[in-house]
Symmetry: C2
Subunit: 123 residues, 2 copies
């Protein structure tokens, strides 16, 4: 049989198992940036992601709540600054997601023009 016996079903399961928290494009951008640079402050993230401050702040809160990143409040001179960094859990989640995404992306089938069997309701 084909490489994947259940065609859609197993793929669907794989897709469904994607971490929704990271899957969200805005957060995927954030996490990707943080995976790349290890540390980033708020404005750097704003610039890299193109998100508005409000939006970014909300996503950061969500990621922090999930334990995926820690937010460290520091001061640069007298100006407060927020530095974000992925936690171990965040790193693990990122790796898992990336892995799953690659597998998913690789397995996304080419389009078949012909209407072959397999789509029948039965079974």
């Amino acid at each position: 049989m084909t490489t994947d016996s259940e065609t859609g079903a197993s793929r669907a399961a794989a897709i469904a198992s994607l971490d929704r928290l990271i899957h969200e494009p805005a957060r995927l951008m954030i996490v990707t940036v943080l995976a790349t640079v290890a540390e980033a402050d708020f404005v750097y993230l704003v610039r890299e992601t193109g998100l508005t401050k409000g939006n970014l702040g909300a996503h950061l809160v969500r990621l922090e709540a999930a334990g995926y990143l820690e937010i460290e409040k520091t001061f640069r001179g007298k100006v407060p600054r927020t530095v974000c960094r992925l936690t171990d859990a965040g790193l693990a989640a990122y790796r898992m997601y990336r892995d799953a995404l690659r597998r998913t992306a690789d397995e996304l089938p080419e389009v078949r023009a012909g209407s072959e069997d397999g789509w029948l309701n039965r079974a």
Copy 2:
């Protein structure tokens, strides 16, 4: 500079450009199934995706509204049946998404443990 000049920025743009309509896991499952089998009826999709009927119906409507798939009402004997098929636009969108996703997935960086430069706020 590093291997990728803008590190995050370009990647972020690529991620942001992902088709949200398809990016949604539920719909990605649907579209993937349809790309695979070309045609599928409602219950087949329910089984393949594991979605509830209500949820699936809503997503189908959305995809139809976007012009990504056509919903054909037929009868099997006396029982009405709904057959879904990707439109050309849907196929194109799927291909584009898949392509973008693969590129994105491939480019998702490995984690760098060290806190290197690049994250600074200053430009």
